[in-house]
């Protein structure tokens, strides 16, 4: 019964035809190949392109932190925002980045609960993206307060009394947001780390140098792959997925409350929570595709992140993009049907006022572009998908800009209307935040497995003790 040892086979034997199902890992790659292909990415020296990419990203990050130092030392006046648009690029960037994070949690948690096994190839990178995006997001609301020591010290964000012994005000959605975003960042990090433990053990066991063995050893906590451990681990993973699912839905709902609970025309709408959540998932999947399409070809991981994965993510874009398009339409309908002249004006002003260009940029990127994905030919053309994913990112940034700036710049009193223009500091801080994001992502590629090795193995037929490829003998 014992199989003869055949290590390092290039292909496992073909399964009988009646059992063939569209595989998640192409070409029947054996388990050892999966380890080599994925762990190999962060074990070998980085390819040549990695260095220029890293230097440019690092430069962007340094630019952003320098401009933040300039902002803190000079004042928020270095940004272009002023009455009446007191929130502009800062909060736009915050909502943009936090939205991007949502795809990571959706892939890792919601698709896990729905038993969508294809998620295993993309969840690691998507979760990393989530954490880095939340880090970028957190910077903007913190630093838009200008004198951050007042915001971070007791009284505003942290639940501690200020100098007058007054506690933070829990009736404000802004404070809910602090709890939502910090919980989201923390739980995403925990979830990511739990997923990493078995793979860090793989890297530890393969490590050549003592430093790598030591560091991967420390972070893998002495993981052995014991089934008594796996039993608790899988339960913990399931519970974390179950906790992350309501969390991810609550985070962007609460972000939308920052607007919806106010009385500003264009913000005060009940559609905001579901519309923001759908938009967040839409933008997040856009970013996942933007990152993973180059990654899979640069590191030759096409057998693990297959064309089917790209196609399925395009379908998510189509679904969430349609919800977003519907929400845009419904907002207009309610503005008319609600009968408030201020609300109606806010929407007319969005589409035909001085910021018409941002509105139509949003519509063309978010409403039109996902509908190309009705066609399989377009869903499976990676270059086309990649280009559309960029448009999704652009469109979703404009969506937040439209919501925030066009609503604020003209509200009830025409004498206090104004026009917001960003300053160079605004622009470069936002550009620099991409530098921070990409720096973190490139370091992630360099040091950690970009795909969940143990999870991908777990969805191959070789992992199934009742499948012929898993060694099952079948009935004769």
């Amino acid at each position: 019964m014992a199989n003869p040892a055949k290590p390092a086979a290039v292909r496992a034997p073909e399964p009988p035809a009646e059992l063939v199902r569209e595989p998640l890992v192409l070409n029947n790659r054996p388990l050892g190949w999966i380890t080599d292909a994925i762990a190999g990415v962060c074990e070998k020296p980085m390819p040549v392109w990695w260095w220029p990419a890293f230097i440019v990203s690092f430069g962007g990050m340094v630019t952003m932190f320098s401009l933040i130092a300039y902002l803190v030392s000079t004042g928020v006046g270095v940004w272009g925002l002023n009455q009446p648009a007191d929130w502009a690029w800062d909060i736009t960037n915050f909502v943009f980045w936090i939205g991007i994070g949502h795809a990571g949690t959706l892939i890792s948690a919601v698709l896990f609960l729905l038993r969508q096994k294809w998620r295993t190839s993309v969840n690691r990178a998507a979760e990393a993206m989530t954490i880095f995006a939340v880090a970028c997001a957190g910077i903007f609301p913190v630093f838009h307060t200008g004198r951050v020591w007042f915001a971070l010290l007791p009284g505003y964000l942290f639940p501690a009394p200020n100098a007058n012994e007054i506690w933070p005000q829990f009736r404000s959605p802004l404070l809910w947001d602090v709890f939502a975003v910090s919980t989201y960042g923390t739980v995403s990090l925990l979830f990511w780390y739990v997923g990493l433990i078995p793979d860090l053990a793989t890297l530890r066991d393969r490590a050549k140098g003592w430093l790598r063995r030591f560091l991967y050893g420390i972070f893998s906590l002495g993981w052995t792959g014991s089934n008594r451990h796996w039993s608790n681990y899988e339960k913990a993973y399931l519970l974390l997925a179950g906790l992350s699912t309501p969390l991810v839905l609550s985070v962007h709902s609460i972000v939308s409350f920052d607007f919806a609970v106010s009385v500003v025309p264009g913000w005060h709408t009940t559609i905001f929570p579901p519309y923001f959540v759908a938009g967040a998932i839409f933008s997040g999947f856009g970013m996942v595709l933007t990152l993973l399409i180059p990654l899979r070809s640069l590191f030759k991981l096409e057998d693990v992140i297959t064309l089917r994965h790209v196609e399925l993510m395009c379908k998510v874009l189509l679904a969430t993009g349609s919800i977003v398009g519907y929400a845009y339409g419904m907002e207009f309908f309610i503005a008319w049907y609600g009968g408030s002249p201020y609300e109606l004006y806010a929407f007319k002003n969005r589409a035909f006022g001085p910021y018409w260009w941002s509105y139509w940029a949003m519509i063309s990127c978010n409403v039109i572009s996902p509908h190309f994905f009705w066609f399989k030919k377009l869903r499976t053309s990676v270059v086309f998908v990649w280009i559309v994913s960029i448009f999704v990112n652009i469109g979703m940034w404009f969506e937040r800009f439209v919501i925030i700036v066009t609503s604020l710049h003209r509200d009830y009193l025409p004498s206090s209307w104004g026009y917001f223009t960003p300053s160079w500091v605004d622009v470069m801080t936002f550009v620099g935040s991409f530098g921070l994001f990409m720096t973190l992502f490139l370091l992630f590629i360099r040091f950690l497995p970009v795909i969940a090795i143990s999870e991908v193995k777990g969805v191959t037929p070789q992992a199934d003790p009742h499948h012929p490829l898993g060694g099952a003998k079948g009935h004769h």
């Binding site: 019964m1 014992a2 199989n3 040892a5 054996p30 388990l31 050892g32 639940p159 009394p161 007054i166 506690w167 933070p168 829990f170 009736r171 809910w176 709890f179 919980t183 923390t186 739980v187 925990l190 739990v194 078995p198 053990a201 793989t202 530890r204 066991d205 393969r206 906590l221 002495g222 993981w223 052995t224 792959g225 014991s226 089934n227 008594r228 451990h229 796996w230 039993s231 608790n232 681990y233 899988e234 339960k235 913990a236 519970l239 906790l243 309501p246 609550s250 609460i254 409350f257 143990s454 999870e455 193995k457 777990g458 070789q462 992992a463 003790p465 898993g470 060694g471 099952a472 003998k473």
Partner: protein, 181 residues
């Protein structure tokens, strides 16, 4: 390694396929071993039943965390906004569970997640950096593409030759090695 001959930790048996280890685990369970474990690069579906493990109790830690989180949130907001420094804002009530809900909800999730993570570590006795199995070179493959069973010498049914014969002949292990403590 073998210079300081200490007592054996157990016998380590290597397998090449998921089906082989699955069968072997059932045999070990039926043979009545208690101090033994299966080591695999990924969780094998159905292995808990094959080993005869009870259901994982991690959920209780999650529940305790969540319970603490929710009531901490509610109590904190009540204490800050109603009890310690009541301050009327916008004519709204000083405390209702309604406006306290979002923050308490997030605290529930936060502490549930911590409870889950640390509960899992506690139940698995992790981190554990010293493990006799790490001395075995073959065992490094347990995080790659090999499957192992280790029956510990501390098991009452353990007998060096008898267990070795059991693993080789009954369980069809490809290699059986002694691991020292």
């Amino acid at each position: 390694m073998s210079s300081n001959r200490s007592k054996p930790h157990g016998l380590l048996a290597e397998f090449h396929t998921a089906a082989d280890i699955f069968e072997a685990a059932i045999r070990c369970r039926d043979a009545g071993f208690t101090k033994w474990d299966v080591y695999t690069p990924f969780p094998i579906h159905g292995m808990d039943e094959a080993m005869g493990l009870r259901k994982s109790p991690v959920g209780w830690f999650t529940f305790c965390g969540g319970f603490t989180g929710f009531f901490t949130g509610m109590t904190m907001i009540w204490y800050m906004n109603k009890f310690d420094y009541p301050l009327v804002v916008g004519g709204k009530p000083l405390f209702t569970p309604l406006f306290a809900f979002p923050v308490s909800y997030e605290m529930t999730i936060l502490l549930s997640a911590f409870g889950t993570l640390f509960g899992m570590f506690f139940l698995n006795k992790l981190p554990r950096f010293h493990n006799p199995l790490f001395k075995n070179e073959r065992f490094k493959k347990s995080t790659d593409d090999r499957f192992f069973i280790c029956i510990e010498a501390a098991d009452p049914k353990f007998g060096l030759e008898a267990t070795r014969a059991f693993l080789t002949e009954k369980c069809h292990a490809s290699v059986v090695e002694l691991v020292e403590d």
